[in-house]
Amino acid sequence: MTLDANLHGDVLVIALHGQLIVGNRQALKQRVLDDIETGTRKVVVDFANTGYIDSSGLGVLVSLAKRLRELGGDLRLANLNADLRTLFELTKLDSLFQIADSREQALASF
């Protein structure tokens, strides 16, 4: 998994390329935590190029969203494929996250 991070105004957009799983979740977590340290409070994770996520990947998203909300911000998700949506529904995490159909929609939601 690799990630591209870009600022759109005050929103950090992270596009993942590959699966978000136990072996690489720390890269996403550390990147967002580093940006939180420098003032970032709004984050969009774009899953357009991600096939699946495991429980560790889901856990990192939960943890980061919780931290950002404590600081008055949020972490929102975009471009989930049908499998990813199913994962969020099975785990009921769809009730915890704002999930947008596109990156633009996620950006506009802030």
Binding site: Q19, I21, V22, G23, N24, G51, Y52, I53, D54, S55, S56, L58, G59, V60, V62, S63, K66, D83, T86, L87, L90, T91, K92, L93, S95, L96
Partner: protein, 139 residues
């Protein structure tokens, strides 16, 4: 007559190796014409969970300890056994429901839930606290 093919891997407890093993099992399931959804969701997620569990919980993240993954794939079903070299653990002791309100915001605790939800059967092999068997019928 059902033809079955087998895969057998021994890998160190290195999380970075999981994805490649999972890809090989998915490939073999694709050859046996498993449904696309099983190939893109059920098999990779459940198998990733099982191998990660063996490395992290079973082997306690000790890189010197190995995980063995044996998969039998046919046009009827996939059976995978994941074996660690650790102290063993009780699968049923990890049965908290991660979807309840009090657990929903926890970072951990979804692995076994996903394995059980995405597979037809997840059991500890009788007589061994080191081997977890996952079974998924082809559809």
């Amino acid at each position: 007559m059902v033809s079955t093919s087998a895969l057998d891997f021994r890998i160190p407890s290195d999380l970075a190796q999981i994805e490649a093993i999972v890809a090989q099992v998915v490939h073999r399931c694709r050859e046996c014409r498993f449904d696309a959804r099983l190939l893109s969701l059920n098999v990779p997620v459940a198998l990733t969970e099982a191998i990660a569990n063996a490395m992290l919980r079973g082997n306690g993240e000790d890189a010197a300890k190995e995980v063995r993954i044996r998969a039998e794939v046919s046009e009827v079903r996939l059976v995978v056994e994941v074996e660690d070299e650790g102290e063993g653990f009780d699968l049923d002791a990890c049965a908290a429901d991660p979807t309840t309100p009090e657990n929903l915001e926890r970072e951990d605790g979804r692995g076994l839930f996903l394995m059980r939800t995405l597979m037809d059967e997840v059991v500890q092999v009788e007589g061994s606290s080191h081997v977890v068997r996952l079974t998924l019928r082809r559809r």
